[in-house]
């Protein structure tokens, strides 16, 4: 099976059933199928060839889904781009995978053009009626009317094999350049089929779309739902920042299945009155992306006694490879729950640094083999096949009952509210600031902290944050920036990360003396 073929059977069987319920409008299965065909024809007419990459840079809506599906039907590989990412980072992605075609909202196109990002994109397709921003080259910007005028008939199928590349998700890269995770149709559907079967997903379900489309959680929301005739209910970007709005949306839309990072559930408990208001329609809650603090998991399960909770686990490179249902709720003494046992047809190994399997109970690195393991990375314009079995960099141990427990990472990859952040990418941005001599980034209790040594006493915390905000997506901008005189060193002269972290947490400013400050130059 392939992603580009998922919707058509339902469009034939139940064309009037709601496929996407977005805050900006709805699409039935029939409408979604036709709109995807129109995107496919319009993209092909402007030169998209099988295997080309097509960027999709549009806030989450039914049209965004149709654009991804249409790109796939044209034979292309769709690349969902982060609407919150600044244009210079989009340029890195566009250059890395050679994006010649991008489906985009008029507002985001304005940002691209204002930042001077054009190469290598040759064709921008507007995803809404709005006019092209000033300065746009009319020969390169295709208005929404062009998609609407395209044929809605099924295009000639472009590919047949489930092992072809379906989409790429760009994640934080340790060298400062994001890298593309290459996912085949088989990779994606091994997960969505498993998850849909596990919870008997059906036409009657209304599945929330909470996660951004460049984030792998969204793969379930879209393709599991659309493969089973369910309705995807978009919980849009302005709703996910408010617990109250999220609970409102669940209640108003009678959402039955929810998949998000734990932070979103905690937000609904703290700020949305979830415990008092409840959400009787919810039958399944999947969570992934970060550790769910036990006290909050207990609160969430008490607030939603009718719902079944599942912990899903896996890096973007393996989608979901471990899973388990949380039942019964963790006891008051429990300090952690398992990340699960192998799922989706995958198998796992836990090995020591020499690659030898470790006995049960001992900590080692998680290696994964099976249908969800990515094809490889698209990195610096080159395709690098995945290692097999795939080393995740996650440290786990196996309990006697076969469930795996999580023990952190072996490198500098951290999670901030569920987002993967390579500290190296944040540090690369800090180092590129002309007034910073050296810097390190670290995660402290879900906060991204930068400790930097300025070479120019006029550099202020505001300067550093503003500079980062022009180069990194918002979730990678350090929430705290400390400017210090010097960083502690190890005996070999390297920056001592451990002592820096300990000094920071213990507020030991004798080790991290504040840097001398001068008034910043007046902005001219």
């Amino acid at each position: 099976m392939r992603i580009d073929r998922l919707v058509t059977p339902w469009a034939k069987r139940a064309p009037d059933r709601l496929a996407i319920d977005g805050s900006d409008g709805t699409l039935t299965y029939g409408e979604l199928d036709r709109l995807a065909n129109q995107f496919a024809h319009a993209l092909r007419a402007s030169g998209v060839k099988p295997g080309d990459r097509v960027g999709v840079h549009v806030p989450r809506s039914g049209r965004t889904v149709a654009a991804m599906l249409g790109a796939s039907r044209s034979g292309a590989v769709y690349v969902p781009l982060d609407p919150s990412s600044p244009p210079p980072r989009m340029k890195l992605v566009a250059q890395d995978c050679g994006l010649r075609h991008v489906v985009i909202s008029p507002a985001l196109l304005g940002n691209w053009l204002a930042a001077g990002v054009r190469e290598p994109v040759e064709h921008f397709f507007l995803a809404s009626e709005g006019a092209a921003p000033p300065g746009a080259d009319p020969a390169r910007v295709h208005p929404w009317s062009e998609v609407q005028a395209a044929s809605a008939a099924p295009p000639e199928p472009a590919g047949d094999s489930p092992d072809e590349l379906a989409y790429m998700l760009y994640t934080s890269g340790s060298t400062g350049v994001p890298k593309g995770v290459m996912i085949s149709h088989r990779n994606a559907l091994a997960f969505t089929e498993w998850a849909a079967d596990e919870i008997s997903l059906a036409e009657t379900d209304r599945v929330a779309s909470v996660a951004p489309f460049h984030f792998d959680l969204s793969v379930f929301d879209l393709w599991a739902s659309l493969s089973r005739g369910a309705t995807v209910v978009v919980v849009d970007e302005s709703t996910v920042i408010s617990g109250r709005r999220m609970v409102d949306r669940i209640q108003a839309k009678a959402i039955t299945v929810w998949y998000s990072v734990p932070s979103a559930l905690v937000l609904m408990l703290d700020d949305g009155g979830l415990a008092e208001r409840g959400a009787a329609s919810l039958r399944t809650v999947f969570f992934a992306g970060e550790v769910f603090p036990m006290k909050h998991l207990r609160r969430a399960m008490a607030a939603l006694p009718q719902a079944r909770f599942y912990n899903l686990f896996g890096p973007t490179e393996t989608n979901v490879c471990l899973a388990c249902e949380v039942a019964p709720p963790p006891s008051p003494e429990a300090t952690a729950i398992p990340v699960g046992h192998p799922s989706c047809g995958d198998s796992v190994l836990i090995v020591d640094p020499e690659g030898r399997a470790v006995p049960d109970g001992e900590v080692g690195e998680l290696l994964v083999e099976g249908p969800t393991v990515m094809l490889g990375y698209w990195d610096a314009g080159r395709r690098t096949p995945a290692k097999h079995p795939y080393p995740t960099g996650d440290l786990v141990s196996r309990r006697s009952d076969g469930e795996l427990m999580y023990h952190g990472r072996r490198d500098h990859l951290v999670k901030i509210h569920g987002y993967r952040v390579e500290l190296g990418e944040v540090e690369a941005a800090l180092h590129s600031h002309p007034g910073i001599h050296e810097a390190i980034a670290m995660a402290v209790e879900q906060q991204l902290v930068a400790v930097a040594v300025p070479s120019d006493p006029q550099v202020s915390v505001l300067d550093v944050k503003r500079y980062c905000a022009t180069r990194l997506p918002r979730y990678m901008v350090p929430s705290e920036v400390r400017l210090v005189e010097a960083l502690p060193r190890t005996s070999s002269g390297k920056i001592d990360r451990v002592r820096t972290r300990t000094a920071y947490i213990g507020a030991d400013w004798s080790l991290l003396r504040p840097a001398q400050r001068a008034e910043p130059r007046k902005e001219s």
């Binding site: 300067d463 979730y475 901008v477 920036v481």
Partner: protein
């Protein structure tokens, strides 16, 4: 009153998100472009405004325009306080 509200908001932002470094920060500084506000710091700021000024910000009050700068936040708080005052007077 307005000057107090403005000073309180400005001081809170500088101490919470700029490590106390007020250099370059003004009541016109764009809080989003400067990387100060993201979804999580926005929530913390809403909680601070609600508590400090005894107001209740509604979803309709919270958008990119009202959360643009210390000046726009001050305007929002003053409007909420004025509305509260009218409601109290009516009772």
């Amino acid at each position: 009153m307005e000057a107090r509200v403005k000073a309180d908001i400005q001081q809170h932002i500088v101490s919470t998100w700029l490590s106390g470094d007020e250099r370059g920060f003004t009541d016109q500084t764009d809080l989003q472009e400067s990387g100060i506000l993201d979804s999580f710091s926005t929530l913390a700021l809403i909680a601070f405004l609600d508590q400090t000024f005894s107001i209740q910000l509604e979803p309709a009050d919270i958008n990119a325009q009202t959360f643009r700068s210390v000046t726009t936040l001050t305007k929002l708080v003053m409007e909420k306080l004025a509305r509260n005052g009218t409601e109290h007077a009516a009772k």
